[in-house]
Assembly symmetry: C2
DNA sequence: TTGGTACAATGGTCCAACCAATTTCTGCAT
DNA sequence: ATGCAGAAATTGGTTGGACCATTGTACCAA
């Protein structure tokens, strides 16, 4: 008994996605570009708009695409037909414990990314990191601490220069989780105050092509953040909140 | 420049998913269970079936749910309201480059997990790791190399003992990706041959409560795997395949 | 130049129907 | 009773058309 015919059962939106992926490749659309209207796609592909929407919804859920009402649908990541999607979803509550867990993941990744940076960064990439560093330091000094956006830019530059796109994907997804904390619970403590000096040392080790040194400095950096958070949490508990 | 108002655009299907997640928790639905009909949900939630479908499509894309026409929609994974979605997408998942990328991620995580293990493993956990190690060594000796299953068990034990569930979840998802390589492309080379001795050194550093030592040994372990793979790839290219 | 207003384009939601696969029920033959 | 083929109901998949909410743009007036 062969059971081979799972082909062509009813999989229109899968087909739509394949065709769309072809289209994106053919038009050489890059992240940020706008792709055709749902109505246009519906007409061109000879399927209903609903079907197009379901397909795009799937892509949106995978973070490949972003929809802006009244404006259009925009590409958020490179797309090709033979892509492997690996949607990880796991329960991760809003408690302090979960925050620490994500931080541990980040520590491992950040260290590795910094090490790879030291090995792979060319002059241009190095310059990019240096620029982000200085922007961050400037913001830090002018606003007396709290440079979370610029701080994030710096780290993101490292992930990008590492030459491995997975770093950025994983970390940026976790970044959302981080924000869930920074909004609500522990007040906006003076993060990064303790970690601040390590940003420069990380950069220096990278610039010196010292992979192990970069890894080590990155570890120290995250360790200070962790210590800050633990202290904040302790204060909170001592105050009796929750 | 404040850019605070991303609040409350129009997000019915997000709301639908939240309510649905609540429902799943409330009814204690487990993977395999069937959840209410689209039509029922539409009626109960007072939204159109289209909206319900878009929401479910998102879940389906993330692998949380499976739809079977004529039968129903079935839960495929545990669902809770505060879930962290981490959709990774690998470009062209069959080239050597992608394999290296996943390996770099694994190196960062493995090192961190080993370090945490050294800090947190109790006597019982330590014994578990030791047992996995010996099982692996035994398999290695009896079958002259190639002990991938037992090898995996060993590493998984480390992730588990690390006390951070995220490690196991991320890595085990990537493990699938690894297998796609080990099946087809580079022949089943004598992996782990070079990495073999490091398994024991990792364990010894953990047992000695030496976090940095454990991290360092774990790094060496992955490095040998990487070197093996690079060698295999070079051989393949020299042979003219592709 | 500035500021507002009308209008068109676009994604978001809804409805009502029909199609296709699956499951369940029904009733007949054994 | 039992077994099984066919009808009927159930359920996800698709369609077309309509309307709403938001955004972008062109145009006009101060």
């Amino acid at each position: 008994m062969f059971d081979l015919p799972p082909l062509q059962a009813t999989a229109r939106d899968d087909a739509v996605l394949n065709v769309l992926a072809d289209f994106v490749m053919q038009e050489e659309l890059k992240p940020g570009d706008r792709l055709p209207t749902e109505r246009v796609l519906s007409e061109r592909l000879k399927v209903s708009r609903t079907t197009v929407r379901e397909a795009l919804t799937r892509w949106e859920g995978l973070g490949l695409v972003e929809r802006r009402q009244g404006s259009g649908t925009y590409l958020k990541a490179a797309v090709s037909r033979d892509m492997l999607h690996l949607p990880l979803t796991f329960a991760s509550g809003n408690d302090f414990e979960s925050l620490m867990h994500t931080l541990e993941i980040r520590r491992g990744l950040e260290a590795e990314a910094a090490a790879l940076c030291a090995l792979r960064a060319g002059p241009a990439e190095l310059e990019l990191i240096r620029q982000k560093l200085e922007t961050m330091e400037e913001a830090f000094h002018s606003r007396a601490g709290m440079s979370s956006d610029e701080d994030w830019d710096f780290h993101q530059a490292i992930y990008r220069v590492s030459g491995n796109p997975l770093f950025e994907q994983i970390i940026s997804a976790m970044h959302e989780l981080f924000h869930r904390f920074w909004e609500h619970p522990l007040g906006v403590r003076d993060f990064g105050h303790a970690s601040f000096p390590y940003h420069r040392t990380v950069y220096e080790r990278i610039a010196a092509r010292d992979a192990e040194g970069a890894r080590s400095e990155a570890l120290k950096l995250i360790a200070t953040v962790e210590a800050d958070l633990r202290r904040g949490d302790a204060n909170l508990k001592r105050a009796g909140n929750r």
